[in-house]
């Protein structure tokens, strides 16, 4: 660490502003800094002049005398500090006044550090170095943070872009004779949730919802990879269970131990009024059955993908006109668990029962509204919701 700090070559280029009315002292400080490799030192003889050259000189450190004719060092320090651009500019006060009260006052007026006259060259250089190094480290950290946050913002936009767009959805609704409404909200940055759908032959379509365990970049990368595969790949298997078993094999090779994905994969066949599906640890999907006039929970149990060699069974049920399928990520029922704000499957069923006669997007809005009401719109997990209603 010490050698690292000694080798911060950037500090030699940092602009240093020296403010000192005494010509001999001014020359002395300038010489000390020059001799030790500081290449960008500007020395001025008054506070007024210092304030004038702030904007174009952009100092990284100000070495400031306290006692000067005209504006003194206290006032100068306070003026610099009051400018938003210089809220963290280090100000090193150098003075012959040795009473502690004057130091306290200087700190109050915005000073960062102190050096007493007579000035010893080594001490002046050491303090200069420390402040400039901190400055460089902080700047690098800020750059890094800004860059990461920019990249996460673009990654988040990419996450939206891998979901079916409005055009694709309209096409899909037409070809499969369904209405589809989705809601997608990643948590703070990026995560491992996504959904998708694509048309198959003869008024059917496949649809899926996936959630990779954990949050953040690793989960998102896995999500991108699987979504690309699902969109491009034409499954040989026409049974959802067989297809999940195939995907499970792929995931087992890709994922590290302790990582996994939960997934619903279904095929809506509007010609034969059927829905076949298979689940790998998805929260209980909801089905509104127009014949019975009741909503029910489908069996979502199954070993998560990527864990072990596994054969996933296919369930096949009736999916008649006006029937509704609702898929959701676990945030919907997990958030706020342990408080009375958690949403139970029972509440979801009730909401679906109450709104079943409405359009898919109205049903989606009703479910989201219930969720927001319950959580004041605050969640700390990705939330995905998909409503598919037969026409």
């Amino acid at each position: 660490m010490v050698s690292d700090m000694q080798n911060t070559p950037e500090i030699h280029h940092c602009p240093i502003l020296v403010v000192e009315d005494n010509a001999i002292s001014r020359q002395f400080i300038e010489n000390v800094l020059h001799e030790r490799g500081m290449r960008n030192v500007l020395a001025v003889n008054s506070a007024e002049e210092a304030l004038n050259c702030l904007e174009h000189f952009k100092p990284e450190l100000v070495i400031l005398d306290l006692m000067m004719p005209g504006m003194d060092g206290y006032e100068c320090s306070r003026t610099i500090r009051s400018h938003p651009d210089y809220f963290d500019l280090p100000i090193l006060i150098q003075t012959a006044v040795s009473v502690p009260q004057s130091r306290f006052k200087a700190f109050e007026y915005g000073a960062t550090d102190f050096i007493n006259k007579p000035i010893y060259p080594e001490e002046l250089y050491a303090r200069t170095k420390v402040h400039l190094q901190n400055r460089v480290y902080l700047k690098n950290l800020r750059h890094y943070k800004d860059r990461i946050s920019d990249e996460l913002t673009s990654a988040q936009q990419l996450q939206y872009s891998i979901l079916p767009n409005a055009n694709e959805l309209t096409q899909l609704e037409k070809s499969s004779n369904t209405e589809i409404a989705a809601y997608f909200k990643p948590s703070s940055e990026i995560g491992g949730d996504f959904w998708g759908a694509k048309p198959l032959l003869a008024s059917s379509m496949s649809l899926w919802m996936v959630d990779f365990s954990g949050h953040g970049v690793a989960a998102a990368l896995n999500a991108f990879r699987l979504q690309a595969y699902l969109k491009e790949h034409i499954p040989l298997e026409n049974q959802p269970g067989a297809y999940l078993s195939h995907l499970n094999e792929k995931m087992r090779k890709l994922l590290l131990r302790g990582q996994f994905a939960t997934m619903f994969y279904g095929i809506v066949d509007s010609k034969h009024n059927r829905l076949s599906y298979s689940c790998a640890c998805t929260p209980y999907p909801l089905l509104y059955n127009s014949e019975s006039g009741r909503s029910e929970l489908l069996d979502g149990t199954g070993v998560p993908l990527g864990v072990q060699d596994e054969q996933y069974p296919t369930q096949t049920i009736d999916f008649n006109p006006q029937d509704i399928l609702v898929l959701y990520s676990d945030a919907l029922v997990e958030s706020g668990y342990g408080s009375n704000r958690s949403i139970s499957e029972h509440m979801l069923l009730e909401t679906l029962d109450r709104h079943h006669h409405k359009s898919a997007s109205e049903i989606r809005d009703a479910l989201i509204e219930m969720f927001n009401h319950q959580h004041y719109g605050m969640i700390n997990d990705d939330l995905t919701l998909l409503v598919c209603k037969r026409k």
Binding site: S213, G258, T282, P304, Y337, G338, S342
Partner: protein, 102 residues
């Protein structure tokens, strides 16, 4: 999550309380080393006081399962899970990896 441990005639009892989430990653990894320890013959996770598990927690339990079977210690027992924990454990079909007892 709070963890209390005791070992009794070769069985490591781990009492879990509160919320078991990604935040417990580090603490749980230390637990994995103990599970692998030579003096341990079997492992019981007591989940009676556990209120919540997230997907990362399920992943960590699977790691514990791997660690245990790698060292031939047999199936880990998950004891007294209820509520959301019970639900997650059953949706994920954890009965295939663990002894699940009331």
């Amino acid at each position: 999550m709070d963890i209390t441990k005791r070992t009794e005639s070769g069985t490591l009892h781990i009492r879990m309380a509160g919320r078991f989430t990604f935040a417990d990653n580090q603490a749980f990894r230390e637990l994995l080393n103990e599970i692998a320890g030579a003096s341990i013959k079997s492992v019981i996770f007591d989940m009676e006081k556990l209120e919540f598990v997230d997907s990362a927690a399920l992943g960590m339990l699977l790691l514990a399962h791997d660690e245990s079977s790698k060292h031939n210690k047999g199936k880990i027992t998950l004891q007294s899970a209820s509520g959301q924990v019970r639900k997650m454990v059953s949706i994920a079909r954890f009965d295939q990896y663990f002894n699940i007892v009331d």
